[in-house]
């Protein structure tokens, strides 16, 4: 392993990644604390966008664009549809948090402390010399279709099963066997 540069002189990439990380963590905090349901979904867009930016900085271009396409484009829209179909309150709602908020906060802070401690302790000396183009669509595509073909096909079957399951669950004229 190469010698680790100092933490006191961050490179431009690190600064950009830290800023994006601050945006992602802040948006995630707003997702779990905001009083408005629709705003939570929109803050989720911000969080996922910042994560896509982080992937770009980490040279994982293809994953970044897939993140934008699927997470921001599909999943958040799906969540917004869910919010509207359940006739959720559009404005401020007081009852979005349950009664076990303090316990949840304690558990979350404990998780954060443990994870951050372990990560910092374990990877203090790890350093990535970033190489542009390492995660381009060409590289990832050839890897998927050369080494990961079987999981890829199985995944398509899984998507089909999820599709049929969602249809069966949401149609009202399909009854279970009595």
């Amino acid at each position: 392993m190469t010698e680790v540069p100092s933490y006191l002189s961050p490179t431009g990439q690190e600064i950009v990644l830290l800023l994006l990380g601050v945006v992602a963590v802040g948006a995630a905090l707003l997702v779990v604390t905001t009083k408005q349901l629709v705003h939570a979904a929109l803050w989720l867009v911000v969080c996922f966008g910042a994560l896509a930016g982080s992937y770009l900085v980490l040279t994982a271009e293809f994953v970044a664009w897939v993140q934008v396409l699927i997470y921001v484009g599909a999943i958040v829209v799906l969540l917004l549809f869910g919010i509207m179909l359940t006739r959720a309150p559009i404005g401020r709602a007081a009852d979005l948090d349950s009664g076990n908020r303090p316990a949840a906060a304690v558990v979350a802070i404990a998780t954060a402390v443990v994870l951050v401690t372990v990560v910092v302790d374990g990877f203090r000396a790890a350093y990535i010399p970033l190489r542009p183009g390492a995660g381009s669509a060409k590289e990832i595509g050839s890897s998927v279709f050369r080494n990961w073909v079987l999981p890829f096909e199985v995944l398509s079957v899984l998507l089909l099963a999820a599709l049929i399951g969602a249809i069966v669950l949401s149609r009202t004229d399909i009854r279970g066997r009595e």
Partner: protein, 231 residues
């Protein structure tokens, strides 16, 4: 690029997702928090893939798979939530307590009930339990065993069945209790009778009808078989 920076961001995102899953009441918000946790995992996968320079690109390919699985999960989750909303008119997690056990207070209350109460409870249960609660045993009430209770054991009623009878059965019992006697009820079922409208057949008693004499040792803490089918 130090590995620590994105790893810390990922750890923080994961903890925020944990908080959201535990603290939110709206089911869609819980789904969003699950998405946050999945994204934290994705960030970790990408970082370690880039760090280790994996020739197979396992991390990034697995990230793509996780994204696709997350899409399927959100689709199915929303279908479930919509079905729930159609049936219950709420997506509030605190109010969806159908699968919960009955509370401890009610269970102990029902376990220490006396035989007369248990008899009344049994009758009420027979009224409520879809009329299937065929307690046929009229106990002859011998002085040795106040509760011989020839229950034929076809009680598919709403008995969650804690079956902790402590033998407080007095002799005033006139039969139809499914009671707390130390007596010969093989599989002593005590009605805790969670009358929540939906009859949840969690009958416990494996009794097959023929009651053979006083047997104080058989106090079966009945296993809830959940189907109501008597053997």
């Amino acid at each position: 690029m130090h590995v620590v920076y994105p790893a810390i961001v990922s750890a923080l995102l994961f903890s925020i997702g944990v908080y959201g899953v535990l603290a939110r009441r709206n089911t869609i918000l819980v789904l969003m928090s699950v998405e946050l946790m999945l994204n934290a995992v994705n960030l970790n996968l990408v970082v370690f893939d880039v760090w280790l320079r994996d020739r197979l690109h396992s991390g990034q390919v697995l990230t793509l798979f996780v994204i696709v699985i997350a899409a399927a999960e959100v689709g199915l989750g929303l279908a479930i939530i919509l079905a729930l909303y159609r049936n219950r008119q709420t997506v509030d997690l605190d109010r969806l307590r159908t699968l919960a056990e009955s509370t401890d207070a009610r269970r102990t209350d029902a376990a220490t009930v006396t035989a007369g109460d248990a008899g009344r409870d049994g009758e009420g249960d027979r009224d409520r339990g879809r009329g299937e609660d065929q307690v046929r045993g009229r106990s002859p009430a011998t002085p040795l065993d106040p509760n011989p209770g020839t229950n034929p054991g076809t009680n598919p009623g709403t008995n969650p069945g804690t079956a902790s009878g402590t033998g407080t059965a007095s002799g005033t019992d006139t039969g139809t209790n499914i009671g707390t006697g130390t007596g010969t009820n093989i599989g002593t079922d005590t009605d805790t009778d969670t009358d929540t409208g939906t009859v949840t057949d969690t009958d416990t008693d494996p009794d097959t009808g023929t009651v053979t004499g006083p047997d104080p040792a058989r106090i079966v803490p009945g296993p809830v078989n959940g189907t109501g089918d008597m053997p």
